[in-house]
Subunit: 197 residues, 2 copies
């Protein structure tokens, strides 16, 4: 009887994935508090892994920053079907936009790294759109089908608009962006059930 | 009888102002078509004045750029009471925001100059707020007093929001910004006449 050769690699892959997840979670926390140039040890101590593990998975700091941003985007994308299943379409949309504005708030801390021109980050805008536009599109379609919102604003347009409104404004905190995004969503609902010219 | 000494200076000031106005109008057109580094002669030919007149009023190109931007801001600020007198508050507000988004569209052509870090432009953001916030504030107050819009979004917040929404988005023309600004205004109207928590 030939022994199935998969268990060991599978176990290894599961361990590796657990380490990566722990590193990403720790890095996100450390980046928020100490910035993206925080010492590697601060991250690995929090993740409970060795520094070697960090460098094996993320050779450059930019690899780690990119992975943290991507994992934040993934979490927001994956929230869309969960919210859809739990709430009415209009409420699911509002809650998802809340999650998205939170993500943009987190990204602020990473903004200078992301705008550093490092080629490691070149693919992130595409990743952002590819993951989030279909997620938002499904929420918009469901809400528009119910007549809860106007149906002529596309997911990409809304992503850009919310991202623009969440940019920092002098003398105002992140609450400012959320408030104005709320007005924009009221405007989306305003056209719900109306025939548009 | 002593002759009144003012007519000559007054005439000179009126001539000078006419030249400045002609230069600003010509510069705006030339900047739009040929960029802010267009040859001086292109501007003075269009304005119908000599190059010496240009340099007497605007020694540096940055002086001219700054004056063009300020005069665009002035025109939008001065439109507010005119629109107020001619239209219902909600309609006056909508039309003024239209004028403001047009101004932002024009400013796009000047954007690289304005973001060059030239100290000549350091005062422009303050000028922008000082001129436009009171103008918009009067329009918002009048519309809110009628219950046509919600009353809890301030003029500065709305100026920033519209300016953010009019920033260029990849693959979309200026119509994109106007459309999303329209949704935001629908949202403002949505709260009209309602008590807000």
């Amino acid at each position: 009887m030939i022994k199935d050769p998969t268990p060991v690699p599978r176990r290894r892959r599961a361990d590796a994935q657990r380490n990566v997840d722990a590193l990403l979670k720790a890095a996100q926390t450390v980046f928020d508090t100490s910035g993206v140039d925080a010492p590697a040890k601060e991250i690995t101590d929090l993740a409970g892994v060795g520094v070697g593990t960090l460098y094996r998975h993320f050779p450059q700091r930019s690899d780690l920053v990119k992975a943290v941003v991507e994992s934040g985007i993934d979490a927001v994308a994956e929230a869309a079907p969960v919210l859809s299943a739990a709430f009415e379409p209009a409420e699911a949309l509002t809650r998802w936009i809340d999650r998205f504005t939170e993500l943009l708030g987190t990204k602020r801390g990473l903004a200078s790294a992301l705008h550093s021109g490092d080629p490691a980050f070149a693919g992130l805008p595409d990743y952002f759109l590819e993951r989030l536009a279909p997620a938002l599109s499904a929420l918009l379609d469901a809400a528009a089908a119910e007549g809860a919102i106007r149906g002529d604003i596309g997911a990409e347009d809304l992503l850009y608009a919310v991202a623009q409104l969440c940019q920092p404004v002098p003398g105002r905190g992140p609450e400012h962006g959320r408030r104005i995004v709320g007005v924009l969503l009221d405007g989306l609902r305003q056209g719900g059930g109306q025939a548009r010219p």
